[in-house]
Point group: C2
Amino acid sequence: MPKIVDAELKRIELAEVTWRLIAEEGFEATTMRRIAERANCTTGLVTHYFASKDELLLAAVERGIDAAEKRRLYLRNVAPGLPVLREFIVTMLPLDEPMRLHWQVWISLWEQAAIKPMLAKEWLRMTEFSKTQLRAHVDDAFRRKHLQQYIDIDLQTRTLYSLIYGLALDVHHKDRAWDKMATNVIDSYLRTISTPMHWNALDLETSTAS
Amino acid sequence: MPKIVDAELKRIELAEVTWRLIAEEGFEATTMRRIAERANCTTGLVTHYFASKDELLLAAVERGIDAAEKRRLYLRNVAPGLPVLREFIVTMLPLDEPMRLHWQVWISLWEQAAIKPMLAKEWLRMTEFSKTQLRAHVDDAFRRKHLQQYIDIDLQTRTLYSLIYGLALDVHHKDRAWDKMATNVIDSYLRTISTPMHWNALDLETSTAS
């Protein structure tokens, strides 16, 4: 294997180890030494790839985002407009273990961003990215007339985004009742901005039971 | 001053110092030593009052909640029902520096709760408390018929709560445009569940300009 690929793989491995450690033990406990231990290498090797814990945190978050994107590939086969908008939102919620861990790491970045300008810039860049994705789905559903035509797309994107974030923060309730409630909050809101015809066409009775 | 009062004051002082340190420098950097430095005392004195950083974190969060409650006393003079519901929600948003710092500390507790069962219990207890407060306001507005009578009070409380939390996580944008947007998100949502008469009676054009 060429050296350059090897180096890239090592970076990815370290980012994944960091991701898991932050999610399981918290950002504070995730020291360079713990990361090296878990990755079966020396602390020197870790610092060779990442100069600081902040850089590792960013790499871990990026890995989490990449993984979430991969798990979202099936959305390509979901009907466009309202159906894919709803499904996209559901994939952002912490309804399974990988997404719960993802939110864990994501909020660690949030916390660090409050005290470190470099991380604040990255946080803003990353949230803008996911907000833009959500907005594209809202916009598409709107242009297909699956959403009420009097809505303000920016305001609705902001509202949906805040709902998702707020629900995600509620992740410490880890039970099925919570999952159902979170989906209900999203659905009852989406319903108010959808046209009745397209909302009913979602046929949620069937899909949420699956 | 009797010793017992003295001890209580010292606890409060340490909690406040911790609160400010977490908000300004993050939970990780807030060591017992930093707290002692800021409070002009020995690390031994800090550990005399608080056995661990986790206990200090809880005390800091409690102080933040108490302070927020005090700043909310004026709500007693706001008209009951929809007006006080809206105002209560606005007081939860990070629209000024104390509330921004409060959210900072609050989310630190969230992060620690993910990895420490004792803190998870406290987090759930505290969120239940503020959810109950919000629900009481929603319920009152509903019983006064300021809200649409077909709404599900629990679902609406959950939705509003999630919106507030989601907006609060957006705190790293610190500009007036954000403040206006956050208030807009809340208002446009509250409007959909209010009766038009009571919504219009809020006369928001005047109050938001003030």
